[in-house]
Structures are given as structure tokens and as C-alpha cells.
Symmetry: C2
Subunit: 165 residues, 2 copies
């Protein structure tokens, strides 16, 4: 046995391995989007805005489960970078509607491409069938853990929502 001791659930356990790989993958993704001047949470926010252009800050904050005050600083940053804009609501002057700029759309597209490249490097050497097998097994585990497709985790635990990891 290696001198390095296991630290989570048992090494060679699925749980430990998932923790380890999930952490490494998130970190790698963070390094990659950093080359575009973004953090993962900025990427997540740009994506959420792109889902439907012209949503209010509050609508997106609820979607991403982040406090309104955090939204302000995230949007301040992205607006200062010229990636999105606050625009007035046509009838409610309290509300700000968020729109991607063309530059924001470009950066989002580049980040998506870099993400696809990361996916390729992660899965290097796996056949299509193996990748399908892996995704199928992971989906069953997601079911065991209680992560339904498309569901974001409860935010009542004091943990940051994984959307913004």
C-alpha cells in the first residue's frame, strides 16, 4: 500500500474517487475559464442570462440560488468587463433586465469550446461505448444520491451551490 493515506471514505471506494475527480475537474475548469478572465460562477451567470435574454436580476438570482447582494457584485464585474448589461425594465423602474453583449456571447462561446476540449482530455482513450457505460453508471449513482436530472442542490446547508463552484 502507498504511504499516502486515504482521507475521505476509503480509497478505492466510489465515493472517495468521485470526490477526488470532481474536485480536480472543477479546479481544471476554473483554470481554463480563468484564461478568459472569468471564474466559474461568472460563466454560470453568463449561461443563465443566455437562457433567455432580458431576465431580471432577481429571476436569475433565484435560478442560481445566490443572494441578491452577491448578484450585484457578480454583475458589476461582468458589466465592467463589457460582457453583459443592465437595462431598464419598460414599466417597472426598480427592475434591471440583463442582456448579454455581443462580446459576452463571444466569450461564452469560447468558454464552451474550452469546456468541450476539457471533456475530450478527460475522456481520452475511452471508446464511445465506454463513455456511454460510464455516464449510465454515474446517472444511476446520481439517482441514489438524489440528484435528479437538472436539479440544483438545496442551498440550506451552508454550502455554496455547485452551480457556482
Amino acid at each position: 500500500m502507498s504511504e499516502q493515506e486515504q482521507v475521505g471514505p476509503n480509497r478505492q471506494s466510489v465515493g472517495f474517487t468521485l470526490s477526488q475527480l470532481g474536485f480536480a475537474t472543477s479546479r481544471r475548469f476554473g483554470e481554463i475559464v480563468a484564461t478568459l478572465g472569468l471564474e466559474p460562477r461568472h460563466f454560470a451567470l453568463l449561461r443563465a442570462v443566455r437562457v433567455a435574454d432580458g431576465q431580471s436580476q432577481q429571476a436569475i438570482a433565484e435560478r442560481l440560488r445566490i443572494p441578491a447582494s452577491t448578484m450585484v457584485s457578480l454583475i458589476d464585474h461582468l458589466e465592467s468587463e463589457g460582457l453583459l448589461e443592465r437595462q431598464p425594465h419598460p414599466t417597472d423602474r426598480r427592475t434591471r433586465l440583463l442582456h448579454l453583449t455581443s462580446r459576452g456571447a463571444e466569450v461564452l462561446e469560447q468558454a464552451t469550446i474550452l469546456g468541450a476540449e476539457l471533456e475530450g482530455s478527460i475522456c481520452a482513450g475511452l471508446s464511445t461505448a465506454e463513455r456511454e457505460t460510464l455516464l449510465g453508471l454515474l446517472a444511476r449513482i446520481a439517482g441514489n444520491i438524489g440528484i435528479a436530472d437538472g436539479e440544483l442542490p438545496d442551498h440550506g446547508t451552508g454550502q455554496r451551490p455547485e452551480a457556482l463552484q
Copy 2:
């Protein structure tokens, strides 16, 4: 398509799924050890002490890649809980040697049992062969990412070492 938008690399990508499951698994493990009054980093520290009783604080800090000042507060906590003890070095009076107490060993054993139960719930419904297949595929991905067996990630990124997640 679900109204919920993907936030990392593409949903249905291995990378996104690993991030999601890794995060959820870590969180669940944290909730579990919390029932013993521990955080995951305390569990990791107890394990590191158990590897060889009587290591110095510095030796363990290097193993876990955490700053010396952080070690102090972690050990203060565990010592106040009666789970480990600082003892003098026989010849070097600067050095403190760390030892598990019998209660610390018990708690560590209980945490290990709870971790095994978590592993069981994560893998519920998977046959032994499927579990082996999964671990094999994940090991290949670990190789792609550059996580050698037993290796802890570089700590130069500003991220917390996963040992202490």
C-alpha cells in the same frame, strides 16, 4: 430540454457529472461526520495521525499540505475534544508529537463505518461487476487528469487541498 440550464461543462458530459457528483458526495460525507462532531478536515487529520502514531505537527502538515498555523487550530480543536494529544519529543523540546487517544481511535472507527455505509448507499443497485467497471473507468480518467494513485493535488492554485474538503 429542461428549463434548468447547464452550468459547467455540458450537462451529459463526464466532466460536469463528475463535478456534480463529487460535490454532492463530499457534502454528504460532511453531513455524516458532523454527527460525530467532526468536519471532514478533522477526519483527515485523525487519519493522518493514525498512519503512524507520534509524528510531529510539521510532518503531518506537510503530508496534508496545510499551513502550520492552520494545523494549530485544527489540533487545538481535536485536543479539546479529547481525540488526540500533543506530547513532548524526547530530545527536541520544540517539537510536539501527535498521538490518537483511545477515544480518538473510537471516533475514527465510527467515522470509517459511517463512510462505508455511505459507500453502500452511493452504490446501491450496482452489481459487483458494475462497481468494478465503474472504478476501472474512473481510474483511467484519473490517469488522464493526472491524479496518480495516492497523490494529493498541487496546492499552488489557491484552492483548498482536497484532502481537507
